[in-house]
């Protein structure tokens, strides 16, 4: 029987890119972002749409995207588990490659999160619609805020607040070094370079979250090309090899979360690291889904980078920012670079660029191994990847 570690280095990411315009793009639809990103990522890989034999999308289905692009995939997967979906797609592509079914997988994302002209309808009979929505428990901020209140209660509100401020500001400092960040976009309102005081004085969205605890809402798209080892070995650019991967979910709606202070990353993190044969100390770059500052704190603990309640100390003094010894979310993250709705794709893009040494001013020195971790839904699903440039 195949074990997880047998899948290590079976596949690699050889192409990534965003859509042409990011941030505030009122003149483009979600599908246009999908298509532009797909075209750009394939060019980055040195391939074309004619080379694609598998398509992966989340939210919008592969049937729609394949039709729009004019491709006929022989392997198709619309696994939609929230913002972590695209990391799970990487694992699924790897498995299909290992099975010999495909060689070139295209994963696309596009979401006019800021400028969409249509909102998805709700299933009125779903558990969330029945039991949470009538109270105003709608959308991520309220759900994550309630989870954060529990974490503050357990570990001390003041020190947790400080940790949240550190994550917010350190991430903003990275964003200032990324030309594609929304905080560098002409339509950005307010100061881009901010400090602790700005954080504490920023307005409330849902206590305990200030607006600076919450991700952006932007337009954009991204795509990622995952290929077999044979294709990767002839790639135009240095591949990001998939050493480890794992996915999981333990609830959908927040009131069903088994423990508000721990995500299923406590399973997917260790499994991905074990498959890769590496430890936390080996990681040069952490790309951690930052829908909210609290998401980062609970995720670092759940992944095992530190113990329960220790994350505020772990991130203290802007340790995760530029010049710190634990570089994290160097793109500027969902908090300050881009967050279209399902942000996970953008974690893959930045990790791949860092592993290739393409991240410009924000390039992490000697960046050879990255842990990339997505969280979806209401802290519901996670997917963890370990990527290496050798």
């Amino acid at each position: 029987m195949t074990t997880a570690s047998d899948l290590s280095r079976v596949a690699a990411i050889i192409g990534v890119d965003e859509s042409d315009e990011m941030g505030h793009v009122p003149h483009k639809s979600s599908m246009q972002h999908h298509a532009e990103a797909a075209d750009n990522a394939l060019r980055d890989a040195g391939l074309t749409l004619d080379d694609v034999d598998a398509l992966f999308c989340a939210g919008v289905g592969t049937v729609s995207v394949a039709e729009y692009l004019g491709i006929v995939p022989k392997y198709t997967d619309t696994t939609s588990i929230g913002g972590s979906s695209f990391l799970a797609h990487v694992e699924h592509a790897m498995v299909a490659i290992n099975a010999g079914l495909i060689d070139v997988a295209l994963i696309t994302h596009g979401e006019a999160g800021r400028s969409t002209r249509a909102r998805a309808g709700r299933d009125a009979t779903a558990a969330g619609s029945q039991f949470e929505a009538p109270y105003g428990m709608i959308g991520a901020p309220v759900a994550y805020a309630m989870a954060c209140s529990r974490y503050m209660h357990m570990y001390g509100a003041d020190r947790v607040r400080q940790g949240m401020a550190d994550v917010s500001i350190a991430t903003r400092k990275w964003a200032l070094q990324n030309p594609k960040s929304f905080v560098n976009h002409p339509t950005w309102i307010g100061p881009a370079d901010v400090g602790y005081e700005d954080y504490h004085e920023s307005r409330w969205i849902a206590w305990p979250f200030h607006i600076m605890d919450c991700c952006l809402v932007t337009d954009g798209g991204g795509a990622c090309v995952v290929v077999s080892a044979d294709v990767a070995s002839n790639a135009k650019k240095n591949p990001a090899w998939i050493l480890g991967s794992a996915e999981g979910h333990d609830h959908q709606i927040i009131s069903q979360m088994p423990d508000l202070t721990r995500t299923i990353a406590y399973q997917t993190g260790p499994r991905a690291l074990e498959m890769a044969g590496v430890t936390h100390d080996d990681i040069d770059l952490a790309m951690i889904y930052d829908s909210f500052t609290y998401t980062v704190l609970t995720t670092l603990e759940s992944l095992g980078f530190c113990g329960p309640g220790e994350a505020p100390d772990f991130v203290a003094n802007l340790r995760t920012g530029p010049g710190g010894d634990f570089p994290m979310n160097t793109s500027g993250g969902g908090l300050s670079y881009a967050h279209t709705g399902m942000y996970g794709m953008f974690l893959l893009i930045e990790a791949t660029r860092q592993l290739r040494g393409e991240s410009g001013d924000r390039q992490v020195e000697d960046c050879n191994l990255s842990l990339v971790h997505g969280t979806g839904g209401e802290l519901s699903s996670t997917a963890t990847l370990v990527l290496s440039n050798s």
Binding site: E132, P134, S149, W204, S255
Partner: protein, 142 residues
């Protein structure tokens, strides 16, 4: 005790399913009923036919005491949907019921500020008559 619904635009209200008609009928009578498993004795929320703990299909309904404590909460300032524009700020909460399960709800009868509520605060479920057929359980701290 009945809580008056807030004035304002149309509410977002549940659409009961065949599986949870009983729950909402009992809420309308101002009683809180939960599903309970005859096999593992776990009482659980939300109501569903299969026990989420031991996966038995031998389950029943039990009436809850309505007593519980605050497990987590948020003070919502930005309206999460247009229907809530005139209600903010308000407090959403997860209440740990005496019988064990977590109930998502609103906290009523206190100022909508972080300091007005604390985790572990005890209280009682009461009902807000939100429409002709729907009454929503809400939580009033002691």
């Amino acid at each position: 005790m009945t809580t008056q619904p807030p004035a304002g635009p149309p509410r977002i209200l549940p659409t009961p399913t065949q599986e949870n008609d009983f729950y909402w009928e009992k809420c309308h009578e101002h009683e809180l009923w939960l599903r309970s498993c005859n096999t593992c004795d776990e009482t659980y929320f939300y109501p569903r036919d299969i026990c989420p703990t031991c996966h038995s299909r031998d389950t029943t309904w039990v009436q809850a005491s309505g007593r519980g404590e605050v497990h987590a909460y948020a003070v919502v300032h930005r309206p999460p949907a247009p229907a809530f524009a005139e209600e903010v700020p308000f407090i959403t909460a997860l209440i740990k019921l005496e019988e064990g399960p977590i109930l998502p709800t609103r906290i009523v009868g206190v100022e909508p500020t972080p300091d007005a509520v604390s985790i572990g605060m005890t209280g009682q479920i009461e009902f807000e008559d939100a429409s002709e057929t729907i009454s929503l359980p809400v939580f009033r701290p002691n």
